[in-house]
């Protein structure tokens, strides 16, 4: 039973088709990669999965606790509550808030006290806030950010910002995690640490992960299966080994690289 199935997905902006007839399935507990040259439509798929865009055509099905739901018409916050979390290619932290607040905000949906108790700061607010704090500290510790919890997110070094964004996504307690180029802009050392971290949270939290990545070393190292996207169309699917030798993929990437150089 797949946790996520994307069926015949098409997305057009104005008259321009960004994605054409995409079919992707992700099984529970899988770690799947999504690769492709710049502008292939990878991030658009994430935006469709998280409800930021509504697809022009096609269906997205998400399976949770044995029941399947069509999620392509739901709002982002509803989708998040179903257990899909994501990071962003261009890091969208709450930059002017502290590291701790970034995490606390994403635990908000577990908060039980209402607005009225908040106004008057009733005792239950204190006790629940303590709980939130404990949970946040736990997550920050795992990601090695505990010592920086009172710093503003924007003051963290780049690599730690990326890590914080993953931590923040994890704090929503997802079953499916979508990572959009988590290693972008990192040096080889940071990248390899991040790769280990992703692998670790994947196992530890029993997550299913869909990963967009440019860095082939990351994708080849941790992904079980890979989808390749080019010009809004799927051109290949398979294990890292199969993808490495796939002619169309090589062509797409060489073409892509030539364009990049020009």
């Amino acid at each position: 039973m797949p946790i996520l199935s994307i069926k015949n997905l098409t997305m057009a902006f104005g008259g321009l088709a960004a994605l054409t007839n995409i079919n992707i399935t992700v099984e529970k507990d899988e770690l799947v990669g999504l690769i492709g040259p710049n502008g292939a439509g990878k991030t658009t798929i994430f935006n469709l999965l998280t409800g930021i865009y509504t697809p022009t055509q096609g269906v997205i099905e998400y399976q949770q606790n044995g029941s399947t739901r069509t999620i392509n018409k739901l709002k982002p916050h509803v989708i998040s509550s179903l257990g899909i979390a994501r990071t962003f290619q261009n890091i969208r932290l709450f930059k002017d808030l502290t590291v701790l607040d970034n995490i606390r905000i994403s635990i908000h949906k577990n908060v039980n006290y209402g607005v009225m108790p908040a106004f008057f700061k009733l005792p239950r607010v204190y006790s629940e806030e303590r709980e939130i704090l404990g949970k946040s500290n736990e997550i920050l510790e795992i990601f090695g950010l505990e010592s920086k919890k009172y710093e503003l997110a924007k003051n963290l070094p780049y690599g730690e910002q990326r890590r914080l964004e993953i931590a923040r996504a994890l704090a929503t307690n997802p079953s499916l995690l979508l990572l959009d180029e988590p290693a972008a802009g990192m040096n080889p050392n940071e990248t390899s640490m991040l790769t280990d971290l992703i692998k670790w949270i994947w196992k530890e939290y029993g997550l299913t992960i869909l990963l967009i990545e440019h860095d082939m070393s990351v994708v080849m190292k941790i992904c079980e299966r890979i989808y390749v996207l080019d010009y809004g169309m799927l051109i290949a699917e398979g294990t890292p080994e199969e993808i490495r030798t796939n002619k169309r993929v090589i062509q797409a990437y060489l073409g892509g690289e030539l364009q990049n150089d020009a």
Binding site: T43, N47, Y53
Partner: protein, 294 residues
């Protein structure tokens, strides 16, 4: 039927004035994404300059119109250089609040200089005669003047924007400021030109309204300014023909409402329309939807 036609004639004159103000709004918004709140007050200043020219300097209509337009153009450039230019890279809200500040400054400075008293334009600057093209419908020659001048200025503007180098630069800067700069366009000058042209149009509107309604006062720019903005949004902000259509539409609806419902509600109608447009089609009548890039 006759009443309807009569209201239509009145609506077209009022709408022409809104359209002239609205054009400046739309141009400035198109180029620097700023709701220039002070624009309505430039129109007020235009009316005062016209007043001084006609009352005190005893100049004729066209001389006064041109002097007022030039004065407002310079004022527009000055305001942009002093107040808006330092804020070009800051948050849009910051710029909007600044614009409100400039607006208050113009209103109350005028009040300090010219006092709050209502001034009256001389009644004989333009031929003040009426004729009746259809039985029961009365048209003042002044109304014809207003309409023709508006159309002429609007065509001139279209010509500038689409056929001249400055216009091309404006369109380039409005599409992408940085790319335009890299192509060797002087962005600062282009923005200055935009303010100059927009403000000149507002100045013209000020003189026309002085002629049409006779009375002017330091706070006269506030409501028409807001309504002209509504007109710009209605037509699709940043789009010149849109502002023109929007201005005429609001003018006509307003006169219809004061004619058929109650003149007390005419101001509410413009705002109700604005809210309706924003909710139904925020991009306006001729606008395209743009979504935020994620």
């Amino acid at each position: 039927m006759e009443q309807l036609l009569q209201q239509l004639v009145n609506g077209l004159s009022l709408g022409s004035i809104y359209a002239l103000i609205s054009l400046g709004y739309t141009m400035v918004y198109g180029i620097i994404r700023l709701i220039n709140f002070a624009h309505g007050d430039i129109y007020m200043i235009g009316a005062y300059v016209g007043y001084v020219c006609m009352r005190h300097l005893k100049l004729g209509f066209f001389e006064s119109l041109i002097i007022s337009m030039v004065f407002c153009a310079l004022l527009g450039i000055l305001i942009e250089k002093i107040a808006y230019k330092p804020l070009r890279n800051s948050a849009r809200i910051t710029a909007l609040i600044t614009a409100i500040g400039v607006s208050l400054f113009l209103e109350y400075s005028t009040m300090a200089v010219a006092t709050a008293t209502v001034r009256t334009y001389p009644a004989d600057v333009l031929i003040n005669k009426t004729f009746s093209p259809i039985k029961g419908v009365i048209v003042n020659i002044q109304q014809v003047y207003i309409f023709i001048i508006t159309i002429a200025l609007m065509l001139l503007l279209q010509f500038i924007v689409h056929k001249t180098r400055i216009g091309k630069a404006m369109r380039a800067v409005s599409a992408d400021k940085d790319a335009a700069r890299m192509m060797g366009i002087n962005v600062d000058n282009t923005i200055s030109y935009t303010f100059a042209i927009g403000s000149a149009l507002a100045g013209a509107a000020g003189v026309l309204v002085g002629i049409y309604y006779n009375t002017i006062n330091p706070l006269m720019g506030m409501l028409p300014g807001l309504k002209a903005f509504v007109a710009a949004v209605f037509g699709g902000i940043g789009i010149i023909p849109g502002a023109f259509i929007g201005g005429l539409t609001i003018g006509i609806i307003e006169t219809m409402v004061s004619g058929y419902v109650s003149s007390l509600y005419k101001d509410a109608v413009a705002f109700a329309m604005l809210i309706l447009i924003l909710l139904v089609k925020p991009s306006g009548l001729l606008g395209k939807n743009i979504r935020e890039k994620v």
